[in-house]
Amino acid sequence: MTTASVSLSHSLAAPGVPKRVCGTTGLGVCFDAQRFIKFNAVTGIVFLLLGGIAALLLALTRWQTVHLLSAEWFYRILTFHGINMLILWILFFEVAILYFACTTPLNARLFSRKVAWASFGMMFVGAVMVDYVILAGQADVMMTSYLPLLAHPLFYLGIILVAVGTLVGVFNFFATLYVAKRDGAYTGSMPLVTYGATAAAIIAVVTLLHGAIVMIPTFTYSMGWTPQPDPAWYRLIWWGLGHQSQQVNVCAMVAVWYLISNVTVGARPINEAVCRTAFVLYVLFINLASAHHLLVDPGVGATWKIWNTSYAMYLAVLASMIHGFTVPAGVEVAMREKGYTAGLFGWVAALPWKNPAFSAATLSVLIFGFIGGITGVTLGTQQINIIAHNTLRIPGHFHATVVGGTTLAFMGLAYYVIPLIFQRDFIGRGWARVQPWLFATGITLLSFGMSFAGSMGVSRRSWDIDAQGIYGPAAHLWLGFVGLGGILAFAGLLIFVLLCVGTLLFGKKIEHRAMADWGTPPALAGTTPGSLAHDHYATKGTIVLTLLFLACFAVYYFANWKALADVWPVR
C-alpha cells in the first residue's frame, strides 16, 4: 500500500528517510529540518547584526554628550532597530528553534519541505521589504506605527508577509507534531524542550492573528481603499501583536534554559508536571500582559486594565517564578549528584563558567529575573505605571528581558547548534568564552542607565532632552551609562556574529566524531546519577537564592510605592 508507506514515513527510524546520526548526541537529524534551521538561524543572525548596528547609533545619540544622529535619522534608526531586533531576529531564530524542537528530540522528520520554503520565502521577502522602506525614509513611524502616523504601504505589506510566513512555519511545526505522534516516532510525553516550543508556537498563533487583524486594514487604508481605522482600536490590537510576540520569546527562552542546563551539566526537570503546568500558565495568561501598554489609555476601563495586568497576569508571573526555581534547582540537583555537595553553594563554584552556552544561559536567567522580571511586575502595576509610563524605565525593563534574557539565551544555544547543525567546530574559542560576559555586562549597564534616567523623568523615544532644560547632571550621567553599555553590548554582539560567520567559513569540519567539548563538570568517584531525585533538601542552595530574589523584589516594589507617594501625596 503506497499510501500507508507514505503516511508512516515521518519517523526518522523509517527506512529511506533522509537523515544523519549526530556524532555528539547520537540522535537522528532530519536533513530537511537541518537545512531550514540553517537558513532561518543565519538570516536571523544577519538581522541581529543590522539591529545591533542601529542600537549602537541610538545609544550614542541618547548619550547627550555625543548626540550622534540628526533628529530625522534618530527616529528612522529607532524604527529600524525595533523591527530588526524585536520582530525579525527573534522570529527567524524562533522558527529555527521550532524546526529543531519538533524533529530531533521526537525522532521525527519535518512535515513538509515545500511549506518550509513557503514560510522562509514569505518571511525573507517581507523582511527585506520592511527594512528597505524604512531606510528609504518612507516609514519613520517607529515600531508601533501608531495611527494616524502613516508609512508607505510596502511597510505594512512587509510586516503582513513576515507574520503570515511565520504562521506558515508554525503550521509546519504543529503538522510535524501530529504526524510524529501518529507514526509513533515517539511515545508518552513529548520532551520538555519540545513542550516549551509548543507553548511558544501557541502564543505565536495568537500573536500573528492579532498582527493580521491590525495590519490588513491599515495596509488597505494606506492604499486609500478603506477609511482610517480608529487609533484606539489600532493600539488595542497592535499590542496583541507587539507585546505578545515578546511572550513567544519568553517561552522559547525558557525552553532553551532547560535544554542548555541539560546539555551542559546534565540537569533534568525536578518535576515534569510542575514544569509543564508553568508552560500552560504562560499559554493561558501571559498574553494578557499586552494590556500594560494601555494603562493610561482612556478608552478601556479600570476593571479591564486591572484584571488583565494584575489578577490574570500574575498567574503568568507565577509561571516565570516556577521556571526561575526549577531551572537552577535542576542544575543544583545534577551537581550534587555528581558529588559537588559542599555547603549551600559548593556546587556553584564547580559549575562550567567557561562554557559559553552555560554562562550565557545563567546570565540570561539572572538578568531576566532580577532586572527584567522585577521591573516588569512593578511597572505593570496600574498605580505605579502612572509615574513610569513612556519614560526610559520601560525600555530599561524590556532590554533586560528581550536582550539580556532572550537574545543572550539564544546566543548560548548557538554555541551548540552551530557545531551540531553546520558540523563545524567553533573558531576563536577563547573569545567565545568571554563573549556572553561582555554582552551581559553591556546590556546590564544599558538597562540600569535607562531605568535610573527614566526614574528622573527622562522620556523614551526622545531625540533630545536638553531643549527641555529640566534635567540635571544626574540624568545626563545615567544617559552616559546608556551609551557605555550600548558600546559594550555591541562589542559582545559583534564578537558573537564574527565567531558564528567565521565558524561557518573556517571552522574545522566535524564528520563522524563528536563536537569539541566546551567543558562540563565531571562526576566525582562513587556518585550515582539520579540518586537525589526524591531528596527535597538537595535544592537548599536554590531556595536561598529564591528568597534573595523575593527580598530584592519586595524592596524594589515598595520603593516604587514610596516614589508614587512622593509624586502624588495623599493628604
Partner: protein
C-alpha cells in the same frame, strides 16, 4: 512487569497540544481582545467645549 515511567494524570491532560491550542487562543482573545474591543465600542465620543 511494566517498566515504563509512571506519568502523572495531570501531565497526561497537559500532553494534549490541541486542547492547549484551543484554550491558548480562546482565553486571551476573550479576556484582552474581545472585552477591550467592547469597551472601546461603548465609549462615547468626547464633546467639544
Amino acid at each position: 512487569m511494566n517498566n515504563e515511567p509512571k506519568i502523572h494524570p495531570w501531565q497526561k491532560v497537559l500532553d494534549n497540544p490541541w486542547l492547549l491550542l484551543v484554550l491558548g487562543v480562546l482565553i486571551p482573545f476573550l479576556s484582552y481582545t474581545v472585552w477591550g474591543w467592547i469597551e472601546l465600542a461603548l465609549t462615547k465620543p468626547a464633546l467639544l467645549p
